[in-house]
Amino acid sequence: MHYTFHWETAFKAMPQLLWGAATTLEIAALSMIFGIALAIMLALFAQSQNPVLKAIHVTWVEIARNTPALFQVYMVYFGLGSLGLRLDSFPSLVAGVTFNNAGYLAEAFRGGLHAIPETQVRAARSLGMTAPQVFISIVLPQLFRIVFYPITNQIVWAILMTSLGVVVGLTDDLMGVTQQLNVVTFRTFEYFTIAAVLYYLLAKSVTVTARLMAGRLFRY
């Protein structure tokens, strides 16, 4: 093997890489917040009697689940551009990952809504609560417990999916920063190994935090 590793050079770029990791977390967090909101909306659409809302739910979920995430990001970045809606790579990536998150989580939420007995809703209504009150204080807390594990999984997925930003030219997330350094220095293996370790730590910290939280939240 005629290759000399230059780990010192690579480690000097650590501050930049850590800032990249912060941006990665930011994108993942944004896409999860929007994704969860949209997933709840889609799950409610699935329950409604309106055929248009039902069709929106089915189309969204099937496209999100049956096409690659990279295709979805491309569609936002290149596809919407030709409709006159030109988005930068950052919002494109957030929108693409949000679309994917919502599609996958919608199914989890739908299953969760099914698991909550109809009788509880009726009991709450007859006690005088309004429909939104019932949804917020009776349904959502129980729903959250059911979808907690799928959400945790999806957060890890979202973090890994943010790496696709580099393909549409994003330069300031962890993958983008690493690629910029790689282009300048050609120390591909060193930089991407550090990036891989950082991604691993991000993913693991989510899993561990979720496990600790579950222990406290779901004691009863």
């Binding site: 093997m1 005629h2 290759y3 099937e62 496209i63 689940r65 049956n66 096409t67 690659p68 995430a69 990279l70 295709f71 491309y74 569609m75 290149f78 596809g79 551009g81 030709s82 409709l83 890890v156 890994l160 999916m161 790496s163 696709l164 580099v166 393909v167 993958m175 591909t188 293996f189 991407f192 190994t193 990036a195 891989a196 991604y199 691993y200 993913a203 693991k204």
Partner: protein
């Protein structure tokens, strides 16, 4: 003005790309499943000093973006001068990635077989390997197959990432055409439809099997 829009040749080019997508999927799922089956048995049946390190090792491939795995293997290929073609690198990376998920699917399937059933088999005089192949595998298959189908579809969708190491599969082929025709929405919609056509029927088959077997 030179008018060049989407034509029949472009569609053939995209279908060839879809062929590459399917070829990569086939090889990586074939080898990945074989590896996953062996690892899954070790994970559920083997001693803890084999099972735990293997679990940790495979978890790495599920916690690092696939894109980085491709880049690292590609870089390692040049460093060690192994000179594998990129197609082989794509298949190797995806096969390990498939194995890392398949292992957990197989493990869950084996653990779903009741201990009492296995003890009954052993009491009837079946050897350990007979118990595994004639009792555990057939029962576990019902738990494993639906998950395995969705894993296969997941890998098929993840092959789109190999465009980053320079393989012209379906998505890269579409991108090439977009650069020329400047009709991203149309071309990408066709690419999406092809992905959908490859994934949706198989996905439905998996859901149907799951429902059918759940009823039994």
């Amino acid at each position: 003005m030179l008018h060049m829009s989407f034509g029949a040749n472009d569609l053939i080019f995209m279908l060839k790309g879809a062929g590459v997508t399917l070829a990569i999927t086939f090889w990586s799922v074939a080898f990945g499943t074989l590896l996953g089956l062996c690892f899954g048995v070790v994970r559920s049946e083997g001693p803890w000093y084999l099972s735990a390190p293997l679990g940790f090792f495979l978890d790495i491939f599920r916690s690092v973006p696939l894109l980085i795995q491709f880049v690292l293997f590609n870089a390692a290929n040049s460093m060690f001068a192994t000179n594998l073609p990129v197609f082989a690198i794509a298949c190797v990376v995806l096969a390990i990635y498939t194995a890392s998920y398949c292992t957990e699917i197989v493990r869950a399937g084996i653990l779903a077989v009741p201990q009492t059933t296995r003890r009954a088999a052993r009491s009837l005089g079946l050897s350990y390997s007979q118990d595994l192949t004639d009792i555990v595998f057939p029962i576990a298959l019902k738990v494993v197959l639906p998950n395995w189908i969705s894993l296969t579809l997941g890998v098929m969708k993840d092959t789109s990432l190999v465009l980053w190491i320079g393989i012209t599969e379906l998505l890269r082929a579409s991108q090439t055409i977009v650069t020329r025709t400047q009709e991203p929405l149309l071309v990408l919609a066709i690419a999406g439809a092809i992905y959908f056509a490859m994934s949706f029927p198989v996905g439905r088959l998996g859901m149907w099997l799951e429902k059918k077997w759940a009823a039994q």
